[in-house]
Each structure stands twice: as structure tokens, then as C-alpha cells.
Subunit: 234 residues, 4 copies
């Protein structure tokens, strides 16, 4: 079984314009399609939960952590951020979505500012650049998202280990929309679509990409200790 | 001095629609702005020259080879292709432009098919993804090319060592428009703009990118021998 | 089922010093441990077979091609090399072993000379650099090969997409011993151990690495497209 | 002029065994060979200086920051670490040496633990893997360091953008000894030699590598942008 925890800041998502496309919040929409998978166990957590819903016990019991944050990144306490970062370094898969490009665990793992351009209310074409990659299986060459926030280059990230998707926006911008990095034993898949008032997480292809992503970043092994051992001569 | 050789298949470029934007052929347009550089010596060569204008003497006297081919890739003899590939492996810089994605020396150095999508008569926005890279110095974040052929993903190339520019096309496509690879001691800069009937090589920013590219791929050192030496124990 | 074809030049391997460690030739040793896998179907082919044993039918029926060549690289006809290269670009996995660093299909896929240093009769320590990689699963941090040919840097290869193993040699050299590249839809895993007179392919860890490699480069999908489609406007 | 600041924790380097090879501390040894360069201006700073000698004014006036720390990483205050990390993201070059693999600014920029194996008192062979790289110019294929601490794989770092040097140790280990990464507008060159009681910084080749490194990571441009601009439609 793959144990998935979906974290969503939720705060502010009570608004009608969000509830219309994401009833109950973004974590509920994502849970909705992940829980159909027979080999996945889904847990959700939000900012207002105690310890953000991310106690050490929850993290230790998580194979893949999906993260959606936007306006309240700073309210996630640093000790929670440390916990997430260390878990990724030991092998936990991590999928920051959309505006989580500025989430503290993501920028800590990247070492860059992760800044970008943005404009609300655009139309996106999402292109598959690496059609052979496991995350791209079953995905058409181009996905059209009629309503999506524009994210544009330059995106201040380290060179991705794999560049799987590129985004095209009708206003004239391009974006590295789906990127993979390894950090320690952990895999990180940043995926751009998913503004809170747009129905991208109800798109079957976007759902399939997130599903593929969960399977791909799920760790084969995790490490217990991370230190610098002294090695005596044989 | 940087010794630059501009190779152009030329054949077919006598047409009025080409001559209008590239009088004398594409190599003449490129020569026109390169020869203003006081530290560059420019030579041109075309398909119909003896040995394609690329004798061993010319290649040995070339620091950077710019290449423009389109409809006559197959007419370049294999021994000339071998000569170019070996020179790159020893350090010669190589800049295949536009439709040279299918030029034999380029596909030989890449090891992939280098195929892509295309459509004539589009509008391009060229974005700088790595603003700190030497090839991007003096280049605005976005260059608009009102008339340019669309090249679209998936582009079948090995993972670039550096992804400097991305192209946006009004018809909905994106493209990895400026890519760098090392092969042996040689640097290769593929750059997408430059359809023969479009005035892209007269655009000041495109000229600056090609100029920066020539300086960047110009070798610091070249190697003489490429073999597998037997190393006795000390 | 994973369909594996093991190609071995074999010529010259009738010598007693080879037969002692590889009875019947290197392909027989490799077949010996691969055929224990219930989900693998193994075929072997040698240089002296008609069409090198690599007809189009055989290649079309191969998921992963393992290659061992040394002194007779030049005797592999170019049309066979083309066939292998095209199959890799369409998705066939390819595992060139040891002295196959100079095999024609490998250098064609790399675009570099693939030259290196060498010295017969050394001792190797093979280190795992990426312990989380699927090819490293079940492999100890260090494997000692008491007898192995030294291969040393600089190794003239394109930057690997993944650098999984590094080799240490008692004579003082280091080597990038296990490297991955993508070319088109195909994955390539170069693995250094396996001089014909050394028993490396009888080492349980080396066998496990090759097994893991076969599973890793086995294609999820294969694709026929090797052309440039014209895309009309919607 | 290239403005270089050499930071050294210094604390503990009053010991005779350090002073013997690094009179006045490691920063003095490095300053000694850097200040011979006519185009470099050198400044030094140590842990016990006010603000660690790294006030905002000093950082703003620094093109390249060389860093040597070992036993007192934790004593560098977080606001100084933030200052260094932000400066690198804006373009300042950064050269963490040897035991600075655990320095807070380095691990913050990497996003990994940067742990490794170690053993005091070994002999190192340092190999050039990318002989064409600017940092390798004038450097022999192999440098022998008769006394150097062993650092061994697995080294928990993100995939280097360039892998320039590999280390061989007589006890049987290998190490990625010279690595480059980009983070934002800044370049980072980690270089392994330089245990405090070994004379590596007096070796002419090691000095040349550090000199080449300073020139290579020196920024061409620096950029202030660390926000996310809203882009209205044209």
C-alpha cells in the first residue's frame, strides 16, 4: 500500500468561488480521485489542525506527501518544515502543487527563491516533453486547461533532474510546469496546475499525472540514519 | 582572434522570398553582423563548394562552425560529416541553427533522431530561462519574432546540459529553443530561430545571442589525440 | 515477460583463459544467471551468426539488448549498427558492458569517442553513489572485485543522466563505472566490470546489478515516430 | 577587480599542528596565493569577528566568498547564514572548502544533508574528469596529495551541474571532490581537499584550482529580483 498524505492550507478556501470547483477544499478534490486507487491509503491534513496535522507519527507513516499552500506559507511553523524536509531526505516522496512553489519545505529543498511571474485568468496548454517518462504514461501530448493561472519564466529553480512538462499560456508565457529533483533518498515532483478557483484537479489528465507522480516518487527504500561515519582502515 | 566558419547549404536560397530577407543567402546575413566584431575572423562555405568548403585545412583553422541546412542534409558527404564530428570532439565549437536539427553532424553528435513538430508562418516569443548564462547577457527576458516557423515539442534530443531559451508560438506550441551540450572537448549550441524566409537573423537580439554563442562555444583548449592509452603501473 | 538478447562477439573466447571463467563464452555466463528469472526470456547471439544474430525480427522481439564486444567492434556491419541504434531510439533498453565502451552502437548513441585509460590485472572497489536508485537495490555500498581490468578517467562520455557507480582501482585510478543515459525512448546503462579473463560475471552482486539494470532499462512504451509531423493550425 | 572574501572559522587553528602548515590560520594560506593575482582584492574574516566579519556591507562588496569551517558550523548565527544564502541567490560566487560540506550556508543551498564518510590520515589522488572545463585549465590529469583526509561516497548532494574532479584514496574510497551547482544567479564550487593539518593549500595545483574556481564563479551579473511580479496582459 502507498500511504499518501494530502496537506492543504485550506484557510480561505471557504469562499464560494473556491467551493464551487473544490467542494470541501482542494484536499477533498485530490482525495476524491486518489482514494479510488486500490493500493493507496489516503490521509488529509490542514493548516489549522494541531501540528498542521503533520505530527512525527503522521510523517513517519507517509510515503508520499502532496502539498498545496498559497497565502499562508509563513504560518507553517519551522519545526514542521524541518520535519518534512528531513523526511524527504530520508526517502518520503513530495509533490508540491501550484502556488506551493513558495512553500517553505519546497524552497528549503531547492535552495533557490523559486520565484516566477504570474497572472490570474489565463488559458494553458500543457505539453509533454518526455513522453517515455513514467509520469507521462497515458497522458496526451497536449492538455488544454481552459482556465488556469499563468505562471511564467524565469522560474528560479535549480536545474531539474527531469523536465517532463512545459506550459504554454495564451498571454504569451512559457513555464517549466512539471519538474523532478532528487534530494537525498527522496524524489520531489513539482507540478504547476491548480489555482484554487480553477477546476484543474477535476481534469482527468491532471488527475492521472498526479496519480503517476505519486507512484513515481513513492520510495523503494528509506534510510534510517544520516550522519558522517568515521571509517577505520580495514 | 576567434575564427568562425559559417556553413550554409545555400541551394534553393536564390528564390526571391529568401533573397528579400537574406540577400546573397543566409550565410551573408550572419557574416554581416559577425564581421563587425574586431576579434572575429569570418569565413563562409556552401554545399556546392568543393568538399562543401570544409576541407581538413578549413576545419583545422576553425574555432566555431555555424551550420544552416534544411532540404539538402543528405547531400553532405559522410566523410565531411566525420570530419566535423571529430573536430567537435576535439574542441571546435558548433552552432547548428534552425532546420539544422536534422543536419547529419548534429544528429551524429546527439545520438537521437532530433525530430520535432513544425508549421510555417507563426509568431514566436522567445523566453530567457537562464538569465545568468553568458549566452543570455544583454538579452531581454522576451524577444518577439513576428514571423517565424513553429517548432514544437516533443523535440527528440538528449537532456541538454543547459536549457537557456524556451520558445512560445501563437498557435499553441512550446519548444526548447536554445540548448547546450558538451561532446568531448567541444560545445554545441542549438538555436531554433531562422527560417529562410523570415528576417530573424536581422533582429538585433537574435544577432546578439548568436554572437554570445560564438564566444561561449569557442574552445579554451583543443586536444590532439583521442585514443585509449595503456597505463603501466608506476 | 522481459525479452532479453545477449550479444557477445565471442570470437577469441575459445581461449583457455577465457573458458576457465566463462565456459562457452561470456554470453553463456550472463545467460546462466538471467535465465533463473521467471519473468525473463533469454536469447543469445554472436558475431559469427548470420546477420550477427541480430536480424530485424530478433531486434523487434527484444526488450533489452546486452552487448559485450572487445577486439572485433569493426566487424559488426553498419546496417546492424543502424538497426540497433534505431531500436534504442524507439525504446529498446541497451546495456553495453565493459570493453563495449567502443562498440559502434554505443559510440553512435553517445556522440563522443568513449575513450578511456586501461591496464590489465588490477583490483577494483566498486562504490554505489546513488543508493536510492532502482539499479542499486540490494547492492552493498562497496563491491570488491579482486581481479579486474583497470579503466580510468578521463572517460570521454556525455554527462550521464545518472551516475550510479564509481570504480576505484588499486593502481590509483577512478572511473565512472555505472552510467545511465536516455536516447529517444530508450534507456542505456553502461557498466564497466567484466574483462573476459576475470570472473566478475560470477560475482553475485555484479549479477544483481545487471539484473536490476535489465529491469530498469526495459521499456514501458515503445514508439515508432521518427519523423517530423507538419501540424496545421487548429 | 574581483573582490574575494575568505571566511575561516579559525577557532582551534592556533594549535601547533595547524600552524605548522597554515601559519596564521587557513585563511592566511589562501590569502597568500590569491593576493598575488593583480586583478583580485582579498579580504579575510573569521568566526570571532563581529558579525563573523560578514556584515551586509562586506557581503555586498564581495564577488566570491571562500568558506572554510569544521567544528563550529553551529556557531554561525542564522541571520548571517541567511545573508550569505541570499547573496549567492543574487549572484555572489561561493566556494565551500573541505569540511565546509556541513557549513550551514552550503547545506541550505543544497537542500540535502551533505553527509559523507571520512578517515583522517590518508593519501589522495585527485583526477580531472572534465579536462576542458575552465576550472581544470592548467591542471594535470592527476594530482597526488601525500597527506589528506579521506572523504568517501556516498556523498549526499543533489546531482552536480558539473562533476569536474573525482578523488581516489589509498584506503579504498572514491569521492566527488570537485562539483559545481547553480543556485539562482550564483555559482557554487565545492572542493574537497584541505584538512587543517595537511599542506594541501600549499600545493601549486590545488592553488591553481582555487584560483580558477574564483574566476569561474565570479558573477557576470547580479540581480536583485527575489519576488514574484504580477504581469498584466499586454
Amino acid at each position: 500500500m502507498i500511504k499518501v498524505t494530502i496537506w492543504n492550507e485550506y484557510k480561505g478556501q471557504e469562499k464560494e468561488e473556491v467551493q464551487r470547483v473544490n467542494p470541501g477544499g482542494i484536499h477533498k478534490t485530490i482525495e476524491g480521485f486518489l482514494k479510488r486507487e486500490p493500493d493507496m491509503v489516503i490521509r488529509t491534513a490542514i493548516l489549522d489542525d494541531e501540528e498542521c496535522g503533520l505530527t512525527q507519527e503522521v510523517i513517519d507513516d507517509t510515503d508520499v506527501l502532496i502539498w498545496w499552500g498559497h497565502a499562508y506559507h509563513k504560518e507553517v511553523p519551522d519545526h514542521i518544515v524541518d520535519r518534512v524536509v528531513k523526511a524527504v531526505q530520508k526517502g518520503m516522496g513530495f509533490i508540491p502543487l501550484h502556488s506551493s512553489h513558495l512553500a517553505k519545505p519546497f524552497t528549503r529543498l531547492m535552495g533557490t527563491t523559486c520565484t516566477l511571474k504570474w497572472r490570474d485568468g489565463d488559458r494553458e496548454g500543457l505539453w509533454t516533453v518526455l513522453p517515455f517518462h513514467p509520469i507521462a504514461q497515458g497522458i496526451p501530448e497536449k492538455i488544454v486547461l481552459p482556465e488556469e493561472e499563468m505562471y511564467g519564466e524565469p522560474f528560479d529553480i535549480p536545474k531539474p533532474d527531469e523536465q517532463i512538462f512545459l506550459g504554454w499560456f495564451s498571454g504569451g508565457e512559457v513555464f517549466r510546469s512539471g519538474c523532478l529533483w532528487n534530494r537525498g533518498y527522496g524524489k520531489i515532483f513539482y507540478f504547476q496546475p491548480g489555482h484554487e478557483t480553477n477546476p484543474s484537479y477535476s481534469n482527468e489528465h491532471i488527475q492521472r499525472i498526479i496519480l503517476n507522480g505519486v507512484r513515481y516518487v513513492c520510495p523503494q527504500i528509506r534510510r534510517e540514519r544520516i550522519d558522517c561515519p568515521h571509517i577505520p582502515l580495514d
